[in-house]
Amino acid sequence: MRKILTALACLAAFPATAAEGERIQVTGELIDTWCYYSGVMGGPDAVVGSAHHTCALWCSAGGIPVGLQAEDGTIYMVLKIEQDDNLAGGDTALRLASHVIEADGMHYERDGINYLVVDSVISDLGITNLNHEDYGPVPAFAIPKSARQ
């Protein structure tokens, strides 16, 4: 018993460090995680795609983590895209906001969160979810009055 407890104590002290990643290829939209998870701007279907593009730009430039929402619904927190590790406000994430990309990279999972280090953007499919036709701009003030003339 003492040996078991000792072994378990060691495991508890050094939980699965995430260094054990898995190479995956995944296709999905690069989304704004704050608006998606907080619900502050509306339901999950409204805070993605073209409806939410301007807000996704704001959040990406503001340093909010970018997530990749895969086709199966899994969301990966993106930590790096190719050579750009500036995922808190960097240019690459800003340029790809709301785009669907096919990515090759390393997947890590820890404490209930999936993370992705993108080694290669295999293809950039652009913005494919044209949900502005259903929701309009989300939030409504994304398009300022001065641009509505």
């Binding site: 995680t33 704050w34 907080s38 593009h53 301007t54 503001g62 340093g63 800003l94 280090v117």
Partner: protein, 186 residues
């Protein structure tokens, strides 16, 4: 076998949901899944934690930051600071790279959306000193973007955002799509 099961239950104990709300003075944002949470944690660069690529300054506010919670070694992902301004928490936490600090804020816990261990940092305390608001983003943006012109919030004046919208439109589909949509929607 019983002993092994007992030992395994001890190992599982830290993974059980703990209550970090006691003592929190975090302000509500009226979010569906918010839970006040204050705890001690080591400030870490999340990319470094996984890959071993570890700049000494944790990326100086340009990389995403995490909080390695002292009580249970859970890696808490931070994704919002205290400002109602579309602003993340990296610039607020990066100055404390590698340090153990206290934080107060809101945890999002929403099983339906898969939100777990995701945190909005509202306040930071170092060495038992005064709590400071995690509200540095706009100050840093102003310093880094001295040429931003006009009035209004930063996200209306940011040159990079303006360039994206000028080129690709508010929906990201091009100015022609914007024009047709605006004519129809308003």
């Amino acid at each position: 076998m019983k002993k092994l099961a007992f030992a395994l239950s001890l190992l599982a104990a830290p993974a059980l949901a703990q209550d970090f709300s006691e003592g929190s003075t975090a302000k509500s944002w009226n979010l569906y899944a918010e839970v006040p949470a204050t705890f001690e944690a080591k400030v870490v660069d999340v990319l470094c934690e996984f890959t071993g690529d570890c700049p000494t300054d944790c990326g100086a506010g340009k990389r995403q930051m995490g909080l390695l919670r002292s009580a249970d070694n859970v890696l808490v992902m931070t994704f919002k600071n205290n400002q109602p301004a579309f602003s993340g928490s990296a610039v607020d936490l990066a100055p404390y790279c590698g340090m153990t600090i206290n934080v107060d804020g809101l945890m999002l816990d929403d099983p339906d959306l898969g939100a777990k261990n995701m945190y909005m940092v509202q306040k930071i305390q170092v060495d038992g000193g005064e709590w400071k608001k995690a509200s540095q983003f706009t100050k840093v943006w102003k310093k880094e973007t001295p040429d931003a012109s006009g009035k209004g919030p930063w996200f209306r004046r940011d040159p990079r955002i303006q360039e994206q919208i000028a080129t690709h439109g508010y929906m990201g589909l091009g100015p022609d799509v914007d024009k047709a949509f605006i004519a129809d929607w308003y």
